[in-house]
Amino acid sequence: MANNFFKKTVLFVAASIFFIASSVLAQAPVTETVTISAEVSGAAPPPPVEGGGGGGVNIPKTAVRFSGEAYPGATVSILKEGNLATAVLADSLGKFSATLEEKYDSTILYTLFAHDIAGEKSVLINYPIAVYSGFLTHLSGIRFAPTILSDLAQAKREEYLTLHGYSLPGKNLETVVSGEDEAQKKTFTLSSGQDGYYKIVLPLQGFPKGEYTAHVNYLADARISKLLKFSIGDVNIPSLELIKNIPGDCNADNVINLVDFSVLAFWYGKENPPRCVDTNNDGIINLVDFSILAFWWTG
């Protein structure tokens, strides 16, 4: 009887350990640890009273504060429901903070992005926030993934590809190169300098010819940089700033916005779409193509 109870207990403990381990593994790596808090804000100054005399009523200020890390000297822009609300400069350590005054209780969609000092844009990050009247809501711990550029659009087989960009200063990063086949995936580690700049020369030995993507992220951080597309072929072709080969960018203006969305929407459900709108090259335009466009969205 005691033996049976022991076995059950062992089984239960083993199951619990398996469950906890699975949950932990499922959650790693984590994206930024954003925390949100709300405190009763300091009262706004009373409105001026016409004709003098009488005192105004102190109305608690409603505001949302964003703070976090981008890149040294980066410009961090905040959009409110798609419209630019403010832009602030990050300090030499890449830290930034911005406060927007609000008026009403509502759930507001804020979109943040950063430009590094070389002008390269980060991915967009959306934060829908429940704003409460009379409270200062503070979203802290925001962290942008590094920016990324390459020297080549096509690299010669067995040669090298250089990736560079900006991140927080003195951070450990990893870059992942992925091919069409899962076996063609390699991870390289690197560190950024004290100015936030990083550069890595990737040896392409062992990679067959074909299409590839590369991205950079902080170690153990699920948020990745923009995906960079490149190919491995017979000759080196420099990466031109003018042509970035972004999926769905049919008008080749290096931005993904409503125009590209509309072109894709025109071909939605139609047969034989042009190659530039078929973002995953499967011959049909469906929600997956819109998802890829939404991922690359620059606005």
């Binding site: 076995k7 059950k8 089984l11 239960f12 199951a15 469950f19 699975s22 949950s23 499922a26 994206t31 954003v34 949100i36 808090s37 709300a38 798609g82 759930t107 969609l109 979109t111 991915v123 967009l124 990050i125 959306n126 934060y127 829908p128 926030i129 429940a130 409460y132 409270f135 809501t137 979203l139 993507t213 995906l227 049919c250 008008n251 409503l258 125009v259 969305f261 509309s262 072109v263 929407a265 025109f266 071909w267 939605y268 042009p274 709108v277 995953n280 929600l287 997956v288 193509d289 819109f290 998802s291 890829i292 466009l293 939404a294 991922f295 690359w296 969205w297 606005g299």
Partner: protein, 284 residues
């Protein structure tokens, strides 16, 4: 035997954890007949960033009437604008940049993502059901990977209304003013010149658009609308209708292949040629 039961319970518990993401419907629980209420469609993504959504919701059309929608959800661009067909509501769209959940200081963890607020009016007393019959959630991973999730409907009680006239709510406001944008087709592009238009309506949502080219009849349209370039410039008008028949109109002049300047230049050149010819002829 007990071990097996224990193991099955564990597996079920684990499976439910693995499918923590869900699409679900929130309703007020009970309403009066004749009352217009909202059914909020939400997605709990288990804190995974998604950017594309497609949902088919079925409802009891014997007990409910679809009365429109409010765009206070997070879907900002419609691939399939909300439409009703035989007791089913279809909608799909994208959230550029993706979203993981709502940050609410009064809530632990991320809140579910509000997708859209659908409006219904109770027709008769009874127990009305909402079912999500199809749903797609695509991850914001650059590949459009599927996010596995569950679907949860809702049940609503519609009570008799002793004073049915009191709950009538009508939308009397037209949709918001909007602009029409032209996306020119390039020389070798297979995509024609497109007209892009979009607006919203604060009370009942946009039901449809109509287009009128030149002085022709109004026809149903959706953005983007392909437009052929005429010889001469012409006015194109678009009307956006809400679910109560109110409309907002916008117009644009689409330039023709021959602009007024070009025609004037050709005319001047022809006139100059004739005059020159006459001068030369008179000299000889």
């Amino acid at each position: 035997m007990k071990k097996k039961i224990l193991f099955i319970i564990f597996l079920l518990f684990f499976a439910s954890r693995a499918l923590a993401a869900s699409v679900f419907v929130e309703t007020p629980g009970n309403v009066k007949a004749g009352e217009t209420f909202s059914a909020l469609i939400k997605a709990d993504t288990d804190e995974i960033s998604i950017n594309s959504i497609n949902v088919v919701l079925s409802y009891d059309k014997d007990l409910l009437v679809f009365s429109g929608y409010k765009e206070d959800g997070l879907i900002k661009l419609w691939v399939d604008p909300p439409r009703e067909e035989n007791g089913k509501i279809y909608f799909g769209g994208i959230i550029p940049g993706g979203v993981t959940g709502v940050y609410d200081p009064r809530q632990e963890g991320l809140g579910a993502i509000p997708l859209i607020r659908l409006l219904f009016t109770g027709k008769a007393a009874g127990s009305a059901n909402f079912f999500i019959t199809e749903s797609l959630l695509l991850k914001n991973d650059g590949k459009g990977s599927l996010l596995t999730h569950t679907q949860k409907g809702a049940t609503l009680t519609i009570r008799e209304n002793p004073n049915p006239t009191e709950e009538k709510i009508a939308d009397r406001n037209p949709p918001f003013p909007f602009d029409i944008e032209i996306v020119e087709s390039s020389l070798f592009s297979r995509t024609p010149t497109l007209l892009i238009f979009d607006t919203s309506d604060s009370d009942s949502g946009i039901k449809s658009y109509e287009i009128r080219v030149g002085g022709r009849d109004w026809q149903e349209a959706k953005s983007p609308a392909p437009v052929s370039r005429g010889i001469f410039s012409r006015e194109i008008s678009i009307r956006a209708y809400d679910f109560y028949g109110n409309f907002q109109e916008a117009s644009i002049i689409v330039p023709g292949i021959f602009s007024t300047k070009l025609l004037l230049t050709i005319f001047i050149l022809i006139l100059s040629g004739i005059l020159g010819y006459k001068v030369l002829k008179s000299k000889t």
